[in-house]
Symmetry: C2
Amino acid sequence: MVTIQDVARAAGVSAMTVSHVINDHPHVKTETRARVLQAITDLDYRVNVAARNLRTGRTGTIGLAVPEVDRPYYGQLAAEIITAAARHNLKVAIEQTGASREGELDALALSRNRLYDGLILSTVGLGPADTDLLKVDYPMVILGERIFDGPVDHVAMPNVEGARAATAHLIERGCRRVVLIDGGPPGDEVDVSSLRYDGYREALAEAGIPLDPRLLVHIDGLTMEQGAAAARRVSESGVEFDGAFCVTDTVAMGALRGFADAGVRVPQDVKVIGFDNIAEGAYIVPSLSSIDPDHALMASTAVRFLVGRLAEKGKKRQVAREFISRFTVVARESTGG
Amino acid sequence: MVTIQDVARAAGVSAMTVSHVINDHPHVKTETRARVLQAITDLDYRVNVAARNLRTGRTGTIGLAVPEVDRPYYGQLAAEIITAAARHNLKVAIEQTGASREGELDALALSRNRLYDGLILSTVGLGPADTDLLKVDYPMVILGERIFDGPVDHVAMPNVEGARAATAHLIERGCRRVVLIDGGPPGDEVDVSSLRYDGYREALAEAGIPLDPRLLVHIDGLTMEQGAAAARRVSESGVEFDGAFCVTDTVAMGALRGFADAGVRVPQDVKVIGFDNIAEGAYIVPSLSSIDPDHALMASTAVRFLVGRLAEKGKKRQVAREFISRFTVVARESTGG
DNA sequence: TTGTAAGCGTTATCAC
DNA sequence: GTGATAACGCTTACAA
């Protein structure tokens, strides 16, 4: 392994001078710099990041903890974050939490191992009750649901507003009996499902449509499989409906399949809208209407918040910031174009 | 920051004893161990991975370089690899190469920074000409196309055989004029497209069907967008066809949209099959027939190869191994069920 | 069974 | 402009 000492010897300087060159410090004679760079090239020297990290406390890598990388939404989010982080010369290591509270706590603990300079945590399992656990001593940004009065920076989706707009969009298109396929009965957790359920309720109330509990379909996990099963179930239940708001696009893709299985036509018999605007939605048949929360903006904001924290170092810490993304309604074939 | 010294002081032992406890070394009195563990809990001590890494040369993290994490295929592959790596107590850091030769070379170089113990590189841009570049001095496994006589371990898909089976499946279902949507004219690179083109040709030859160049549709990138455009193009070209083999499922999903746009019905007018068996394929309408290369097996094999290399340390290096995965044809609605 | 000493490769500090 | 020294937190080798 080639070390900084080897380079120094080859260039006829001290290790410190090599270090100065590597780190772009001023006050190095142009000629010396050239000699050092030449030696670095000749020997194919690479800095040992671990050693640098030990000395500086920085790794140049941030952690990104998401429920599952194979769900399109998180894959697309991860890609955006990698892109945004690269602009700050940061690398991203992705952790999977398995969408569980335990997995998210693990991610919190792991980052204490100082492998990463900071952590972007996409929560689904942690709730307001876990506020204390978020008081970590390293830079962190929460990406996801709103945690009331959380002590950390927070980038959230416009969940309630987006869900209200999605439901209102269905109503505008003539739906009066809108099924909600979501992740379970509202509990005390502030999770995606209950927030989006709030939006759904608000939109119905605004339109003067009474909420019919038989139109609330709860599923166990936000997967295509569960979405498909839910759509089949409601189709065979005998309950009348003419619209469906699915809590995520992944669930909606499953629901489209479930309706097809049940012989229910989209959008003629039922209009369907999801939430997230994943890339696949524009290509499936029928293409999927959705709420687009501007992932790129969320990703770049999360990274910007984290970079801000990284820079705080000695200075006193700023108060926790919150950013709620904007959204647009994307009308496609599944709601009639 | 709590260090091993702090723990030692609190437990009334030396740092070495703490180290022994942390690393599960035997020869520590039960009572001493308990005292140390108590101190660790009390102080909320975490090992500094960078320091350990500097000393041991191990990080406990492997790198995974894939073209793009937001393509379903790679997302699902990454999830499998994370799962397989976790069984060996290894974490996975994901890099994006952007599907370019440069990006892949960057990934190769980055791992020299010793951030990772080893690298799983999913190649699409590197070819046999780059064999020399793969002679790196750290554990590496190539995941993807076959690189002739490569000097590294290699886990490959059954590209030619799978493509042949996919095409044969269309022929079995009655297709005689099978469109191939692939990534470009076969060059000297051994890439997915040219390998799968070989399989396509073989299947046609076996069935005694002459190859019609007008049925070869080349696209610029293996995306849904390109797939959709290709399907529209061939539909409007006036060329007759009754089947389509798309080089990946992502391209096939795009093609399904393109055919729908052009008023071509699947599977009545054209039967469509992809390659990769991504999860979405089972849910879209019509569901997508595909070649399943057993991702889980590929992922676990890649990790196993890498773990084997990690263990080599002092011993002499074994010869490079090669594993070609098996495959199955998954017949769904897009080829008539 | 526990502890001492040394060093992994780098950089902050400060002297020259 | 350049370099000597020490230190980051940990573990290997060996001593007690």
